[in-house]
Symmetry: C2
Subunit: 235 residues, 2 copies
DNA sequence: AAGTGGTCTAGACCACATC
DNA sequence: ATGTGGTCTAGACCACTTC
């Protein structure tokens, strides 16, 4: 035990919120009142309150006070990495092919390039000990001096393929999850007998000026197509 | 302009990180050094650094210093509300039916209740000006004094239906996205001619003791089955 | 022993909201 | 005029790491 004062106050206030004693819209005591009650300084109280703010429980208005927030129930955290599927099973990756081609119009549009712009296409099969899991395809515009190392191609997730340049923080990502029919190529790789609807996770990567720098599609077969997300409430 | 000092320092450091001048693993200058350089106090420096910490750029180790973090490229933010589909189109809700029944074994298992436990089942159709979007079904265990108001049934999202008791913060959510075939009932509502694979968003709600308090499934027809998520990089 | 971050105090001045 | 939160100072002591 022997928590720091700010931790103690934080826990007490958070508890009141979680138990419903403090409801959305309610105003908290002022910083000075809390400082007196807990026999501490204003800074220590502010530390507790800023933590509650960071975790989405309260906001403050200059000259007015602190208020309990109306929680946003639509927000979820989604963890997605095509090479690390929820860490439930070991996932392996096998390179099926790499080539530089002119992709079709839909891909060109998504990458915001002209149709004669060369694109590196990387095909991979993702599988576990029990068999194939997903068919994975990446499109990376081929330009400037951006080398793609062989090892990266087989064992890297999309962000790590393209984020070599500049900073790994200067990257924006977008995910789109939808249904698409499999094609003969995918059927063969995933051991499907006929064309089936598959769950597709499409990953778009942009640099800091919003220029597309990579596009990935992962087609999950049968029972493997389950994407999960969680509320970000602290443990 | 005239930003506060801590804001100024925060921006400068964040810029260095985004431009790649500071890379993952690099150590920052010490609090005292930064305080001297910016002719300010240690507290002001600490404010900047704690903001960078909160936004996932750096960590600190007592006795050692501050270090740039290896960013987690698998983290996404997913916004889901069955009644507010990305705010692109106005979405309406029509109540198809409400009844209290004993649901099948799969539902009972997910709600962790016995098979003779009554469950309130709510069926809704979600549609826009252009036609039906999704078929929505909720399962809420019927027990204790938890009244469900009529208006809530037609116009509320699942978290708002069940979070009346205690605090709206004391709720854990889980989302699972997968493919399922439509049944005749769904076909009729969504104007489908035959059984089709649909994108399903399954929402599980738990109270603070991890007891299930609600289950929702939303079946999206055709082109409407697109779920998006974004990296949490600021603005 | 010296330097680092973690916690904390006792003040100060400001812009803002309320009355 | 008073109270509120927002910013900031100049100290202090502690536990920790490194040398």
């Amino acid at each position: 035990m022997n928590l720091p004062i700010y931790r103690h106050l934080f826990n007490q206030l958070k508890d009141k919120i979680l138990r419903g004693e403090l409801k959305p819209g309610d105003m908290l005591q002022s910083e000075n009142e809390l400082a007196q009650q807990y026999s501490t300084s204003r800074l220590t109280v502010r530390k507790s309150l800023s933590m509650l703010d960071n975790e989405g429980f309260i906001t403050s208005f200059p000259g007015k006070g602190y208020y309990i927030i109306e929680p946003d129930h639509s927000k979820y955290i989604l963890l997605f990495n095509e090479l690390n599927s929820g860490s439930k099973n070991n996932l392996y990756s096998k390179l099926l092919g790499v080539n530089a081609t002119n992709p079709d119009a839909a891909i060109c549009q998504k990458l915001q390039i002209s149709c004669n712009h060369k694109v590196v296409v990387i095909l991979r099969l993702l599988y576990s000990n029990e068999g194939p899991i997903a068919y994975d395809i990446k499109y990376i515009p081929y330009d400037r001096g951006r080398p793609i190392v062989e090892k990266a191609i087989e064992y890297a997730a999309l962000p790590d393929m393209v984020a070599k340049k500049s900073s790994p923080f200067a990257i924006k990502k977008e995910l789109c999850i939808y249904i698409d029919k499999s094609n003969p190529e995918i059927n063969k790789s995933l051991c499907l007998h006929e064309s089936e609807p598959l769950l597709v996770v499409e990953q778009s990567l942009y640099d800091y000026e919003n220029k597309p720098i990579g596009l990935g599609k992962t087609y999950y077969g049968g029972e493997h197509g389950k994407i999960r997300a969680y509320s970000n409430m602290r443990e």
